[in-house]
């Protein structure tokens, strides 16, 4: 029974992943550059030069790679590189990302196989508060926006 449950959860997880992958393709072009209203109020920007390399233009953005400004995410700095192909945002990579991690330290992962897993499910229940990571995403949006501002055709 346990094996069947595990198999089922793997199938569900894969199905979810396919849905997400599909959504991403659909949503990629929706990113709107230059909307100043989205700028987080309390982030500061390091004086890193935003750079771009462009080729041809066939869509909303000019094709090429664009490096966003380095933005203080309070726990560290975030800087992204956006890649535009056929006028659409096709890839975002992180050039700088906050990390408290030290290298070459091993953690015991023995407990891992015993922990329960599930596919996440959205809810619309009333809550008194919401816990989530916010700072990093605000800095991400700011750096990505700086990159996409350069890509505007």
């Amino acid at each position: 029974m346990k094996k069947a449950l595990i198999s089922a959860s793997v199938v569900v997880a894969f199905a979810l992943y396919c849905v997400h992958a599909h959504d991403e393709q659909n949503e990629a072009p929706k990113v709107t550059p230059n909307s100043q209203a989205n700028q987080p109020a309390n982030t500061t920007t390091r004086t890193t030069t935003a750079t771009a390399s462009t080729s041809q233009s066939t869509g909303q953005f000019k094709d090429g790679s664009y490096t966003g400004t380095s933005v203080d995410a309070y726990y560290g700095y975030i800087q992204v590189k956006a890649t535009v192909s056929d006028g659409k945002l096709t890839d975002v990579t992180f050039l700088d990302y906050p990390s408290d991690r030290r290298e070459s330290i091993e953690i015991n992962s023995q407990a891992m196989p015993m922990l329960k897993q599930e596919a996440i499910q959205s809810q619309t229940a009333h809550v008194d508060g919401v816990s989530g990571a916010t700072d990093t995403s605000a800095a991400f949006i700011e750096s990505l926006q700086a990159a996409l501002n350069q890509a505007k055709s």
């Binding site: 959860s9 997880a13 894969f14 979810l16 992943y17 997400h20 992958a21 991403e24 109020a41 309390n42 982030t43 500061t44 203080d72 309070y74 726990y75 560290g76 890839d91 975002v92 990579t93 992180f94 050039l95 700088d96 990302y97 990390s99 408290d100 991690r101 030290r102 290298e103 330290i105 953690i107 015991n108 992962s109 023995q110 407990a111 891992m112 015993m114 922990l115 329960k116 897993q117 599930e118 596919a119 996440i120 499910q121 959205s122 809810q123 619309t124 229940a125 009333h126 809550v127 008194d128 508060g129 919401v130 816990s131 989530g132 990571a133 916010t134 700072d135 990093t136 995403s137 991400f140």
Partner: protein, 244 residues
């Protein structure tokens, strides 16, 4: 009643079940502003900025010594994953200061005779006493793939909940130090007796990648919920007792 102010680069939300004296809330927000003035690495006049320009340890404030001692302790407790030293050698204790400040603010509000309230600083929350609709506070865990949704509702009373993560969907996020793909884990939520402990352990556990949830499992009195890039969650053995 609820009041929000933007301090320390994030919204700080205080919710009280009963009507509360405005002066009491003013004192809490003032406290957060004092913390920001001392520990913000992007305020050139802050004590931490002065320390990073060479201020000798002998003239650091008592508060700074206390925070640095707590950071060292946390580094030891997390097998080195919690580290306030940046790659450029500068010190940044903000990963600990946030949870500690919420904790101190909670005690301050208690001392002013307020019992039933929550303090939320950028998604890290301490719940105190009764909630607005019952003996517990109903706290959501945000869906990292859709910020408008929650994936779990947790019942808390005199406990903290903290989430470390990326809140970014479907992108390649590489650890700049070794090019390891960090997107495997997008969100890690920790519930603990205080927001101070929940927050610092969530920060360290997230930096551990896949192994982070095992670290939380091994901590007495803490539970965790980790979400990976495929939308699969891994939870600690006692987590479901908090699910509502």
């Amino acid at each position: 009643m609820q009041r929000t102010e933007h301090i320390m680069g994030m919204p700080i939300i205080i919710t009280t079940v009963k009507p509360t004296d405005g002066a009491a809330l003013d004192a809490i927000f003032d406290y957060f502003r004092q913390v920001d003035a001392r520990y913000s690495t992007y305020k050139p006049d802050s004590e931490i900025s002065q320390i990073n320009r060479g201020l000798p340890r002998a003239v650091w404030s008592t508060e700074m010594h206390d925070i640095m001692r707590r950071c060292e302790l946390t580094t030891q407790q997390t097998q080195g994953y919690f580290n306030i030293e940046r790659p450029d050698g500068q010190l940044d204790p903000s990963g600990l200061v946030k949870g500690w400040a919420i904790q101190q603010a909670t005690e301050l509000l208690h001392s002013k005779g307020v019992d039933d309230f929550s303090i939320d600083a950028g998604g890290d929350i301490q719940a105190s006493g009764n909630g607005p609709t019952g003996p517990e506070w109903r706290m959501g865990i945000r869906n990292p793939f859709d910020r408008t949704e929650v994936v779990k509702v947790i019942g808390l009373r005199d406990q903290g909940i903290a989430t470390s993560g990326t809140a970014i969907r479907g992108q390649h996020i590489y650890d700049p130090h070794d090019n390891r793909d960090l997107t495997d884990i997008v969100s890690l939520t920790v519930i603990g007796p205080t927001i101070y402990d929940a927050d610092r352990f969530a920060t360290a556990a997230f930096a551990m990648g896949q192994k982070g949830i095992s670290f939380i499992e091994d901590l007495e009195g803490f539970e965790g919920y980790m979400i990976d890039k495929h939308g699969t969650a891994t939870m600690t053995s006692g987590f479901e007792e908090y699910v509502r």
